[in-house]
């Protein structure tokens, strides 16, 4: 099969379309960046060539492919306190509601996935320690999972680039990190606070043990799945959550189009999804 390429004409056509849809403009210097991601989506969607893919992108009724491509074109790497509004929602709304209705004093269990290099899970730990008074009354278990064992090792090491911690307030950076070489080493207390595990979300054997969670963070992952895989993921999260538990997705993702089992909850900081309290 001939190697997929994006011609200059294709690039210009896409650039114009993408700008009209999103307001994001790519200059000629971004050609390689754009081409690589376009080719990735052409292959993932089995479109065979740019022309087929572009037709599908423009006329797909649901707009999901445009969303997936938009995220691919805008996502770089993860970093501490990314989409911080959801952590605010966690401490200001979700945890107060959960602990108020809790009938036992068992630990609050949070599952963060995909872990990537650990920034999200450590951010959750930091946020709880800094901004949730309930941390003095409740134990919290944070489990963070990823399919990639190398990235999990990196997460466990807890060593980050200046770019990764750039969004952190200075006082938290100095409190939880030490300067090490050209980067930052996260403190042992935080490393001890998070358990990193390898899991393939699509493997029923892998996920069977993941049960009894109060909150699940799964941000900017489902956009890369096809419809059936999204439904499988929604089923897995449903079984992993306690009744009344919460699911936090990325800003561009919605459970409403995937599953009818979750209720959208609009809090002041964020919209999240909740498993029915009456569910068993």
């Amino acid at each position: 099969m001939a190697e997929l390429t994006i011609s200059m004409e294709d690039f210009l056509k896409f650039r114009e379309y993408f700008y009209r849809k999103t307001g994001i403009q790519f200059d000629d210097a971004k050609r390689y960046f754009v081409d690589r991601r376009l080719i990735e989506r052409v292959e993932t969607t089995d479109s065979r060539n740019f022309r087929n893919y572009f037709m599908m992108l423009r006329f797909e009724a649901s707009g999901e492919e445009l969303q997936a491509l938009t995220n691919l074109m805008t996502v770089n790497e993860t970093y501490f306190f990314r989409e911080e509004y959801q952590f605010k929602c966690l401490v200001n709304s979700i945890l107060p509601e959960l602990t108020k209705s809790r009938k036992n004093q068992g630990p609050i269990r949070i599952w963060s996935m995909p872990s990537s290099s650990g920034e999200e899970a450590y951010s959750i730990a930091m946020y709880l320690l800094e901004y949730w008074p309930g941390i003095n009354q409740w134990d919290v278990e944070i489990i963070s999972s990823d399919i990639d064992t190398k990235i999990l090792d990196q997460a466990r090491r807890g060593y980050y680039s200046p770019r990764s911690v750039a969004n952190l307030p200075k006082n938290l950076l100095s409190k939880y990190f030490s300067v090490s070489g050209e980067g930052f080493q996260i403190c042992d207390d935080l490393k001890e606070a998070v358990e990193f595990t390898r899991v393939n979300l699509m493997n029923s054997v892998d996920v069977r043990g993941y049960r009894g969670f109060d909150v699940i963070f799964c941000r900017n992952l489902l956009i890369y799945f096809d419809d059936l895989s999204r439904r499988q993921a929604a089923d897995t999260f449903y079984d992993a959550l306690h009744p009344g538990g919460f699911l936090c997705l990325g800003h561009s993702e919605s459970m409403s189009r995937i599953s009818s089992l979750y209720q959208a909850r609009k809090f002041s900081d964020s919209v999240v999804y909740q498993k029915s309290k009456e569910a068993r």
Binding site: T45, N52, M55, M56, R58, F59, E60, A61, S62, P107, R109, A125, L128, L129, I135, N136, D139, V140, E141, I142, I143, D189, E192, A193, V194, E195, T197, S204, R208, G209, Y210, R211, D227, L228, R231, Q232, D235, Y238, D239, S259, S260, L261, A279, R280
Partner: protein
């Protein structure tokens, strides 16, 4: 610093199962009174042979939404002949939610639905033909536009053509231009068809 507790038992590596997971036991559990048992039975039946008929049958009477949803996911994952045939039968149901669930599930099965799309579009019941067009709404298959074009060229029922022309407005290309023009002449007394065909043409020609 307060402690965020790390636990060594955070993940239960081995979940104790109350009942066996062999296929015949799982089939018996489909009639368990506990919806959680039914849900897990359905989930674990995904790799068992010749169980799609039983899953479709359960879908007809199951009231728990979490069980219904896992049945649909499981049928979609199985995607065997019985599963597809069962979903097609659901299109004939009087139960609107069952029909809609079947349509949503079939949208996820382009390769399995494609070989029977011709039969669905030739069904004697115009409602079934409309549902077949609904399935095409987000069916990822290269023949979608061809099928829709054939519908507006040949289907005698105005409502089936109206559903198809709406969709052509979203997915059509100049390939359907002539058929859209002709459609207006096939139903000269139907103002909606004229409106929808003109709108589809406008969209297609602005590409």
């Amino acid at each position: 610093m307060p402690i965020v507790k790390k636990t060594t038992s955070a993940v239960k590596n081995r979940v104790e199962r109350k009942q066996g997971r062999d296929c015949s036991t799982l089939l018996r559990q489909l009639s368990d009174k506990n919806p959680i048992a039914r849900r897990w039975a359905v989930k674990d039946l995904v790799d068992c042979l010749d169980v799609s008929d039983e899953l479709v049958e359960l879908l007809r009477w199951e009231e728990d939404s979490s069980v219904r949803e896992i049945i649909l996911t499981t049928l979609t994952r199985r995607a065997d002949e019985q599963a597809v045939a069962g979903l097609v039968e659901c299109l004939r149901s009087e139960d609107a939610s069952l029909r809609n669930e079947a349509i949503e599930a079939m949208k996820l099965l382009p390769d399995e639905v494609a070989p029977i799309m011709g039969l669905l579009l030739a069904d004697a019941d115009p409602d079934v033909r409309i549902f077949a067009v609904n399935v095409m709404e987000s069916l990822r298959h290269e023949k979608v536009e061809k099928w829709l074009k054939e519908v507006i060229e040949c289907d005698p029922h105005v409502n089936v053509c109206a559903t198809a022309v709406d969709l052509l407005g979203e997915v059509g290309t100049p390939y359907s231009r002539e058929a859209l023009e002709n459609l207006k002449m096939r139903f000269p007394g139907e103002p909606y068809i004229r409106f929808a065909a003109d709108l589809a043409l406008k969209r297609i020609l602005s590409i």
